[in-house]
Symmetry: C5
Subunit: 270 residues, 5 copies
């Protein structure tokens, strides 16, 4: 059963890191100088507009929807899918493929494979089709991560462009030496914004989305191995250890009913 | 049916990003200091001339023609090609390969494959030939993106060279301390130009052209799978889901007559 | 026999490098200016929180446990495993597979393979299963190294963010010219901390963990080759040189009873 | 027929880029400050000596000979080789392999393959041998590009070393504040030289040599496919489109007698 | 016959590059300011200690032994090994495998293969074993290059750490404005040392060791192809051109008795 869970690591990391930076700013005196709307516009606006150029409308806006998956996600744990596959394999061996029609399969990707088994599709065809499907899914999920990793590349560049504009403006009209300091402070702000957005927002989200892609790919790989195992009439006792190689050793002998921590489904990616 | 469409993402991103930078310049006072013809010449001229060294005349000038495809493009949507392939496959199974001669095939790559089927060419030979063709097409399109990505590498270097020349000139004749500021402002301009051209023009165009390459590659991969499926006499009901694995799940069951947004053909790349 | 050993290279390198840096600090006068708690918090705290965003809770905390393996580790030397495999192979050829049940196999991965041999599992199935297991183990160990290498990427960025915050604060309130020097010194501290943590802690640990992964992968590869050799009834005299290709030439003819230096098991990774 | 041609792209780019930089220098006043023999020695001399360390004598000096190929080159156009292969294939089918002995084959690589056909060597052996030859040729040509790309890496580093030496000298004897400017100008010169040499000489030559390697590799691939096609007695009408997949579509139907521009042979690399 | 030879390229490059830098230092006045023991300690000592953390004791110290191979080396020239293989192949065809026992084989890797031929080992087994041996040798030699390339990465970082320490010390106690210049000169020294050590020592040695690895790999590949050719009873006239594809064309028809330059064995790597 897929569980919708908050990714505590992303949430705590995000709030904590911004908390630390905010503390450094407030600790140092006037925090107001760190807030400059034109600088925010040039860095954030410029970054998003440049990244938009690099992708399609739907990739770009899709990435923001996908980004929520860095914070909240829904993924069946491999530990829950494997026993289900073993059960299906036992049914198939005892009562034949057609008996699988009665079984309730929750994972839609696994269901797709089982349905083809019931229809009598050849194992090679099933494998070919499921593999392509897995590959395409992984490809598609890759784009969400790519939009954010492109933002992480562009943001420091936009920050530098903003700082250069500020420096040129300051240097070309250096009448009052007292104004140099504050003008340079403002010029540096865009570099700061670019570094903060890239390193504390865009790149971590890109990496977390990459992790989701790996988790989903592995879950689908387990389903493919399982369906092919059933199709070939493999003994459930041979199939089970094969599927469990996808799990960390500490999780292999685990009972289903454990009081798992919120981030349990992620651990298999470790 | 290939549709010529404006790539709104490239256009909006381009205009928006330059708008943001222009706003930052005008907001800060005199915009004239940001306009310096010798600096533009050294950065843009130098970049294009160095990039010309790296490629051939026809690759270089071809890249500018290809670059328009980042803004305006023409590509058949996979959703439109797949039903056509299924139709051809149904005809071939019912009435034989020769009946395909009557069918109207708009996509020229698909037509090439179907013509070989009608001629009775062996499936392996067809696959081999179409695969090589696809590979060569992708290779050729790669060069357009390469010219722009090389420009994105060279431009900041030319900007730095311009700034170094300016600094050496300023430092070697520092008679009037008041002239230092404006002289340094001018020296920094080439770095600014290089950063703007690389990050807001050259690299985004290179990335968008890379995206076009992926889209075209996938469309051709669908055609190859389709032609081979027809050649092997595969059941259209088996062929259809196989070809649809290339589409995002949300698009698989779509009716042809939808009111698609302008950037629809791109979404499959997502 | 797996030996728990201190990795002298990691330990000496770590203590020595910090000793050199500490000497440079104390040698230069007041060491107190180099100790600034807010700067430590923003660099170390910020780095760990941002890295936490990129991984899952269990990957993140697991990495610290795994990090101890950079200093202390337990790995059977391939030189000790190979004679054991040869012995098992001799038994299997002389007395049959079932005789292996009597043999004491200490390496748990090797034991898993031998147990399957005794159960009469087919060689292809054994190879497939052990290969997958090896791959998954390597994948899992990879994450520990990844957490530290991500820390090595993030720490300099957090150092730069800290320095930028300090510079903006200093520049925006430049009343007392005498305060500029010390304020800038403090601003630079975060860059220093970031460089020290990345280059002298995070990246070396990531690299050492990568080395452990290679060593473990090779030990498992030896076991797989050995088990398959036994399964195919290969002559121990053919099997031995094959397995010894995994060793450096200088170690191939070594007697088991040598007075090996503490870091002996590592040398094979050379 | 191989044609010796000047690569206009390299020549125009090279002269133009140096013209732009020279204009920027003369435009800014005294050009003499930009000419400093010790700085030239440390950057160019240092770069070549360090690069010499990285390669062998013959690789290093061979690279300079190869570098002329970035400006002047001799390569048969694939459009000229393909009809020749088709002709040979027609002869072989009509009159047998031995009739090929009469044919005049200009391309030496193609000749090598045809000679083996006449000798009755097995197709697999021919393919194996020609493939290895192609691979080795590509490998060898790679080194020329590598020497220049290494120079492009080392030159900026030598420029930085020169600037650091200049800065240390200036800072350690800052008696006359007026001398600081000119001293710093000289110190910056090595950085400028390093950037100019790397970005406007070494890297473009490395890239152009890489392009030559691709062109030569493709010509040899066409010859291999052609020889194997002849060996297998393939129909010239099947062989021709297969070989033409190596050409850009615009060139496939071209008549041999066109008035091609000087850089025509390069276009196929596009 | 392996010849021990001095690698003139490494030696001349090394002495020349340091000569150029030394000239730049002496030319600029007092050379003493460039010599600072604590700065040397922090850069060289720190670099070696950090690199030690990344490898094992034996890899680290082994790398220094291997590094001498960048200056002095011993490798049989492929041109000398190929005729020997052809001779062995002629003997084997005329007088049978057992006659090979009489032949004197100097190259120990080739001898290993020939010995297995005499023992009647199956070609597949020989190939498998020799390939693994070659792979493991290449892997092991890789580590020497890795230690130096890691040093090339770490040294500039240690240089920056040293400079940051110096800057913090200078800025935190800026009492005497006259002392700023010399203090900053000393602070910059570590950056200079790091750049010199990385670019003029560590990275060139790493690259030269990488070249040795390629040469040795090719020599072993020639031996494997030769032994397999003999095992399959290939005609020496077929075997010779196959093995000669590993040589540059200019060397293929060379007589053994040429007056080769000292660096001759390297040229084949070109």
């Amino acid at each position: 059963m897929g569980v919708t869970a908050v990714d505590l690591a992303t949430l705590l990391g995000f709030l904590g890191a911004f908390g630390v930076v905010a503390a450094a700013i407030f600790f140092g005196g006037s925090a107001l100088v760190f807030f400059n709307i034109p600088s925010i516009l040039i860095v954030l606006g410029g970054t998003f507009l440049v990244v938009l150029m690099k992708f399609s409308m739907s990739q770009f806006f899709g990435a923001f929807k996908v980004a929520t998956r860095a914070f909240i996600y829904k993924l069946e744990a491999p530990e829950d899918v494997i026993p289900q596959i073993i059960e299906l394999s036992t049914i198939a061996r005892k009562e034949g493929m057609l008996a699988l029609e009665q079984a309730e399969v929750k994972n839609s990707f696994l269901k797709q494979g089982i349905d083809m088994l019931i229809d009598g599709t050849k194992p090679e065809v099933i494998k070919n089709l499921l593999m392509k499907d897995m590959q395409q899914t992984v490809d598609r999920h890759k784009w969400g991560a790519k939009v954010f990793s492109a933002s992480g590349d562009v943001a420091p560049a936009m920050g530098m462009i903003g700082t250069l504009i500020g420096l040129v403006q300051m240097l070309s009209s250096m009448d009052d030496p007292k104004a140099i300091g504050p003008a340079m402070a403002v010029a540096l702000l865009t570099t700061l914004y670019g570094a903060v957005f890239a390193n504390m927002v865009a790149l971590p989200i890109a990496d977390k989305l990459g992790l989701r892609k790996v988790e989903e790919g592995r879950l689908k790989a387990i389903c493919i191995d399982g369906v092919i195992g059933i199709a070939e009439g493999q003994n459930p006792r041979v199939l089970e250890p094969l599927l469990k190689t996808y799990l960390a050793p500490s999780r292999r002998d685990r009972d289903e009913g454990g009081g798992e921590a919120a981030d349990a489904p992620q651990e298999q990616a470790a």
